[in-house]
Assembly symmetry: C2
Homo-oligomer: 247 residues x 2
């Protein structure tokens, strides 16, 4: 645990940016890699300041950021701990429907295709010019009650990683977590819109969509990480939106 953090900090010796960010990312890396699991105790400030070439204030700032992000909880006299996972999630932040008891219904994604998309103004505006954009189409069953259709757009570098991952993880994947782990891209903001529609992008679905959910995810630097369209049939389930993007 502590040596994992130490190793990550050492590996980042050439990294740009402030020390507290390097340390923050190192701890985050230990968490997302699975070496550190929720509830586990993290090294104390004093320990880290002895082991790392960082002062107490720097370590405090790093921990402060992690508390801010909700990844770590701290308490005086006890120590610093990895925050418990308040919501289990196989899916990203979109398309979470609630059951009668208020719990999030399980989702069962099924990959139906992927391809590179033509470079259009629409994508260059989002992802920048010269970036190859690919699309991943999925049909997602919600609790085996009904299905939604999802179109996911992102730079090809990202979709490739996601597709690799998806095959291993039975086609389910938390995009936000993968992006953080594999690409070091924290998603810090998601803007979504909901609108009524009569369009049907997938005739063979056998139903006409009722609502279209569009989501644009941004990284900490304000870059667009991905764009997603989700077609939702007329159902009576509550659809959840949470401003809290913590993992």
């Amino acid at each position: 645990m502590i040596d994992s953090i130490q190793a990550r900090v050492a590996a980042a010796h050439a990294a740009t940016g402030p020390k507290y960010q390097i340390l923050r990312d190192a701890i985050l890396g230990a968490i997302t890699s699975g070496e550190a699991i929720p509830g586990m105790r993290l090294p104390t400030e004093a320990e880290l300041s002895k082991l790392l070439p960082y002062s107490l204030g720097t370590i405090q700032k790093a921990y402060g950021q992690l508390v801010q992000d909700g990844v770590v909880v701290r308490s005086r006299g006890r120590g610093s701990f990895i925050a418990p996972i308040q919501r289990q999630m196989a899916e990203p932040r979109h398309c979470r429907f609630l059951g009668d008891d208020g719990t999030i219904l399980p989702v069962y994604p099924h990959l139906v295709g992927h391809q590179q998309v033509r470079t259009e103004r629409r994508w260059t505006e989002l992802f920048g010019s010269g970036v190859k954009v690919a699309r991943i189409d999925r049909v997602i069953s919600i609790n085996h009650e009904f299905e939604v259709f999802s179109r996911f757009f992102a730079p090809q570098a990202i979709t490739r990683k996601l597709l690799n991952r998806a095959r291993n993880d039975a086609e389910s994947a938390n995009f936000k977590l993968i992006m953080l782990r594999e690409l070091g891209m924290p998603i810090t903001r998601i803007v979504q819109t909901i609108v009524r529609t009569d369009d049907n992008p997938k005739k063979q679905l056998g139903w006409r969509p009722h609502l279209v959910l569009e989501a644009t995810a941004y990284t900490g630097e304000g870059e667009v990480a991905y764009f997603q369209e989700i077609y939702i049939p007329p159902v009576d389930r509550k659809l959840l939106f949470d401003s809290d993007l913590r993992l």
Copy 2:
């Protein structure tokens, strides 16, 4: 400006809590009172540390919090400024519809009533037991195109302040901002749900609602600040959800 901050800090000499919070509230107070307006330059760290019995680090922490809350923007070599209001908003974070050009449509709220609500399990669970809860009903015209109906629930202490404010501000109010400024309650998380409905809470509206948007707002401490139901007729406008809660 600077003397206003100084006065507020002096007035808070007996206040409990850390100094950086006292300073944060003092600056926030100067903004609230109108002495400091968006775009205005705030005192530098050095200035404050000379005028106040606070060290540089304490002042930096206070400013850091305000940046975090989106109330202040800072830049190296230039200074600290009161954040511009980037999105003009007479309304809180809910019920923002987009026009054809992607801009947020103006909203025109109209107060139609307010009253204390019976203490039910539903409210004690949200706000705690022994808290008197009141309801504010409003009809909100969106760009004079259509109307939505809003029911806002919060502890009476809050609704009272909002009602006072609403009368002054022509019945328009940014709840989040008022709560931050008047009550020192930063809203840090909003959880929303959308669901189809056939209920009509207000027969006299002349339309049947199509969607119900429910929003629960939480303070930094995890307390529920308010709960809101918004009844939306069938319209073709995009409804916006943004995870970024900055003002």
